[in-house]
Symmetry: C2
Subunit: 222 residues, 2 copies
């Protein structure tokens, strides 16, 4: 394989990873739409999209392996391939979170809709924006943009913590709302995990660009 | 680098990963001991061990990169190195879960100890056993043993689901126990995530041994 062909293959790998990112993001958007309008048919869409995400994850891993096998890549390319391997795994888990949320929404169907002291769509928007921005920083090889994702994560963590205490207070005052409040609490935590995955991706981008490992930026989880 | 030296380096990589596994497992054991005896000083131990786990994760990733850069590994060795990269990331996240549990235990200090309808130490023992078994299957290259971890995960998921409903019922009946019940619910979910990471590791072992991807065994999350 020539050097030029090798770099074409790296580009293909990147393209495939972006498709993967699009699928993961769509799954999250749909899961939250299902939550917002309490629609079980959207939940089914999310659950049914999981096998395709999983299949694509395997394809990308295999492509990465093939590239490692065929060439003796240079350090920067190696770091790129390692970043792809890590990001791929995180995107698949974003898809898992979408499925978890969809399953929660189905459970909620049995209970009347109530007002809760947590803005799940806003939390979801922030988490999805983190994933988008992390991927954008990957496309552009922009470590500074990636670093801004880490700041967004602090915000998601804070919103999630606030939701935890507000819902916990609500449950004590109105125990009859326990099922809905617990469901919202779990969905908020699922979204926080999406934010954690976006953070992982951003850290991988910074590592790839700078060859410097910034993982283990403080991560909290109420 | 000679072939023999390359294989020595692979062994070193494996050794380092086992040290990493030992640290992650110890962190979980300590976090659960802290939960059991409600001891904040053990929580501090867990939180303080995180930087070493993170440092070791970086070292292992770097070693894997160096090995990929120095040799043109054969397919089986490539799959091994890829498995190490994946397992390494999962072990680091097991350590994160231990920290999350330790943080929860500290929060619990403010509330009186009460009996709850969830056997956290048993759930923890099962999750820790999954990690141990997944690593054992890695050491022995035993895909069958790895497959048994997937079965254990179903059990952890079921226990966690039962805990969710039991705690949710308790909260409705005794809203004054909400803080303790929510804390236990979160700890149970943290342990379920440990089980998920063990499952990921087991799947990586099977992939390494068989070159066959069994990831995406059904994973549930209440």
């Amino acid at each position: 394989m020539t050097r030029i062909k090798f770099h074409q293959s790296l580009d293909e790998l990147k393209e495939k990873l972006l498709v993967m990112a699009g699928m993961a993001e769509q799954a999250i958007q749909r899961a939250i739409e299902a939550y917002r309008v309490r629609d079980a048919s959207i939940c089914n869409l999310v659950v049914r999209s999981e096998p395709s995400i999983n299949r694509l994850e395997r394809e990308i891993d295999q492509m990465a392996l093939d590239l490692l096998a065929m060439e003796q890549p240079m350090a920067i390319d190696l770091r790129f391939i390692l970043a792809v391997i890590h990001i791929n795994a995180d995107l698949e888990r974003v898809g898992d979170q979408a499925v978890n949320i969809a399953v929660r929404v189905r459970e909620m169907e049995a209970f009347p809709s109530v007002d809760l002291p947590v803005d799940i769509p806003r939390l979801a928007e922030l988490a999805a924006a983190m994933v988008r921005k992390a991927l954008q920083s990957f496309i552009e090889g922009d470590a500074e943009m990636a670093a801004s994702v880490l700041t967004m994560d602090d915000q998601v963590d804070k919103m999630n913590e606030a939701a935890f205490y507000a819902l916990s207070t609500l449950i004590r005052e109105k125990p009859e709302l326990t099922p809905q409040a617990l469901n919202a609490l779990i969905v908020a935590r699922n979204l926080e995990r999406v934010g954690d995955h976006a953070t992982n991706i951003a850290e991988d981008v910074i590592f790839w660009v700078h060859g410097k490992d910034v993982r283990h930026h403080v991560r909290s989880d109420v």
